[in-house]
Symmetry: C2
Subunit: 470 residues, 2 copies
């Protein structure tokens, strides 16, 4: 008689198609996952393999159900809470590799405009009206939208970023946060010298052993804006700070042709070569967008294991261009998926982003095999985690990882029939099909209801802020 | 004291942002629309303009509410049913200009494959297992998905198409239907001679004065498949039949480069020139896809007022190419929006299609102004109606048109704040935000519940068919 490692768990999710998104892309029919202390302690199938006859004793109840395993008849698994996936898809929560969360405040404020007119006449004037409180509320709205659409972790860059961290923390979301750093004075910290102080203070406040962050949801990154808004000194200092603290380094790279022209004119090289010469490239660098890369740039990315956050919808909407993602993947470069901010998308739904990514690269390369559904899903899960340095704790369903889990409902007309769950997740589902979101073992959304915030009051607050911005 | 034209109406929708999508793109804050005998009899705003103080007397009830107009104090408007849009968007139902509805049966069956492998090894073998009954069930699932995502009218081409007509009729959907005609024997009608008989029988069955179709929901079109599957004789006979019956003529044109090469090799011209020489071009022709057009082709489209059904997501997924839609629109060519079939999309959600269209053409032309939100919305409403010859009865909210109306909920995190409803509809909404769908004055979906079919049993049937197809 074998012994069960865990006889009592906090949460048991059962009765779904379980996709692990691990390196073996395992799939369990009639799958289940057990969670204890926020960690995944068991995954499997109740109908195949070693643990093939899990069955429930007595009636199914949300709390206090007792499970028995056929191969372990002397042991029982007791779960404090049981969630029935009802035949839906159980999978890792999605990871949004690039956001400006509080820009939810500017959703739909200005669209369909040339980049400079959009920025100078609409976005910058609106951002001048930002306050820490407004950034907090905007970030909360973003968290609501992300949790409702199955995103459990995001990587953010913005102003007053400590407030984004607080919003994520208050909503129990996993996040990488970083104050945007640039040469000119910031509405948040003033001159850049104080910007580095602001970042250092955030790092202290949110460090793993701090009382405020017992569950390590928040990671502070160093986030210089770009090669065109940051002098070499700023960039090198950012690299240094990230190295000292083993932090991710986040930057926009080669988003537009005009940016590339500017750097060429100023430094005589591409943005990537410029960063390489400054010692910025490295495995902790997330190069957001990375649209206009030369062959040499891509070789540098590969050589330094630079990560990419690909934001196809924003790149399309701003007419920035199409990143060469299939080539990057072929070169072994790790590419995550991001939505960018709501002013240039205009939503935070990674299911839609996966669909767009898979389709855009097919037509752009005139090759229907260019980016498959499974690949798009990897970008939005395990590759995103790897890009952000979080793959030891999230991005896939594996024993020992933190429990960032979602359930996708499949009993809706647009999800029927079921031949292939990967296909449905990428080409048919939207974020609205997510029925449950779990972060770090905590149920943050169930049956489309947010459990960690009063979303009605957040929406009311945002509408008031918008009335003042408009 | 002015007289009210209608004192008693069947349906009153109130309390929303009303977008007419008519030629003036009128917008009414706190708007309402009144419906009698399936027709729109009044639209306006309860806070501005002539009829600025509509208010309800007594408690708000779904049935039997009495309304009073401030400027018409002696008159009251009595509505049998009142729907409160709760601040959402009241707009015309969307029009899907190109579908193969019953291909819902093959949703996710095979993806990410080269066109010929996909067709020959997956789609054709699956289609060999079709029966009239299966086509009916597949079309019902499509109707469910369309109604739930705000589409009130679709233009279909498929096998056993009379069953698609029956499905649409049974669900109270507006549809243009047409049996696909080609040179080789069809599983539906056998040799082409009988194909024309099948079409003639459908026309007789569904003609406006027939007892089966008192409300004119169904229009029968003539639908030769394409220049590469139809001989000149077939095409000319199709033109003749459409002319005799004043029917729409639907065909696939220039969808792939290989199609263009084939026609060039066989006839020495482009598909469009080939059709022009045969006398096929005309204002009743809906040329689906129309991706690979030369300058001369586009001039022919313009000269003959040919209509286009643009299907960006299918064209992307199959790596067919990008139609030159901004140039078409600049040339005054009428372009509607379609999803194509579920085997190459894989959904029927026109909200997602609008988003994709607006973004794809921006990046493809590297111009953020290439296709604006308002234009995408016109393509999915009034332009679709014009393309299908239905603009006198649907496609916009105007007095005298049939009541094809939807309400889009705006009180969800991804729809907040509200600066610009056009922007939100295209860039933030999905079909799931549609809370009410009304076709020909009949409420077919309310609060996400379908009222004209048992959708659970339809999904069960489809799953059974899929099990046999797989």
């Amino acid at each position: 008689m074998e012994e069960l490692k865990y006889e009592s768990v906090d949460l048991l999710i059962k009765n779904g198609i379980l996709l692990t998104m691990d390196s073996q892309m395992r799939r369990f029919e009639n799958g289940y996952v057990a969670v204890k202390d926020g960690q995944i302690v068991e995954i499997g199938s109740s109908s195949i393999g070693q643990i093939d006859s899990i069955r429930q004793i007595g009636s199914i109840e949300e709390k206090g159900s007792i499970w028995e395993k056929g191969n372990f008849t002397n042991s029982t698994m007791q779960a404090t809470e049981v969630i029935d996936a009802k035949g839906g898809i159980i999978m890792p929560g999605l990871i949004n590799s690039h956001t400006h969360a509080s820009m939810t405040l500017f959703r739909g404020l200005a669209d369909d405009l040339p980049l400079m007119e959009w920025l100078n006449n609409h976005i910058f004037p609106a951002e001048a009206k930002l306050t820490p409180e407004r950034v907090y509320i905007g970030a909360k709205l973003a968290c609501a939208e992300m949790v409702l659409s199955g995103t459990t972790c995001f990587c953010d860059m913005y102003l007053f970023e400590d407030k984004v961290a607080e919003a994520a923390y208050d909503c129990s979301m996993r996040a990488i946060v970083g104050e945007v750093l640039y040469d000119f004075p910031s509405p948040c910290y003033g001159p850049i010298e104080q910007g580095f102080e602001y970042v250092a203070a955030m790092m202290e406040k949110w460090k793993p052993n701090s009382l405020m962050k017992p569950n390590s949801l928040i990671t502070v990154a160093v986030e210089p804006h770009s090669t065109y808004l940051c002098a070499p000194e700023l960039l090198q200092r950012a690299v240094e700070l990230a190295r000292e603290n083993q932090s991710p380094l986040i930057i926009h790279v080669a988003e537009t042709l005009s940016e590339c022209a500017k750097i060429k004119e100023k430094y005589g090289v591409t943005p990537t070569r410029f960063l390489a010469d400054l010692g910025v490239l490295g495995p902790n660098l997330v190069a957001c967008h990375s649209i206009h890369l030369t062959k040499e740039d891509m070789e540098l990315y590969k050589a330094f294991d630079v990560k990419v956050a690909h934001c196809p919808e924003s790149n399309m909407k701003l007419a920035s261009g199409v990143a060469l993602v299939p080539q990057m993947l072929k070169n072994g470069i790790c590419v995550g998926l991001g939505t960018d901010g709501c002013a240039s998308n205009n939503d935070l739904d990674l299911f839609l982003e996966m669909d767009t990514a898979a389709k855009l690269h097919k037509v752009f390369s005139m090759n229907p095999e260019a980016l498959k559904a499974e690949t798009a899903l990897q970008m939005a899960t395990i590759n995103g985690a790897r890009a952000l340095g979080l793959d030891s704790i999230t991005g896939s369903l594996e024993v020992g990882k933190r429990a960032d889990i979602i359930i996708v409902n499949t009993s809706a007309p647009h999800m029927v029939p079921m031949y292939n769950p990967y296909s449905h997740l990428v080409y048919s589902a939207t974020g609205n099909d997510v029925s449950v979101s779990i972060i770090d073992g905590k149920i943050v959304m169930k049956n489309r209801k947010l459990l960690t915030m009063d979303v009605e009051s957040v929406m009311d607050e945002v509408q008031k802020i918008a009335a003042d911005i408009m």
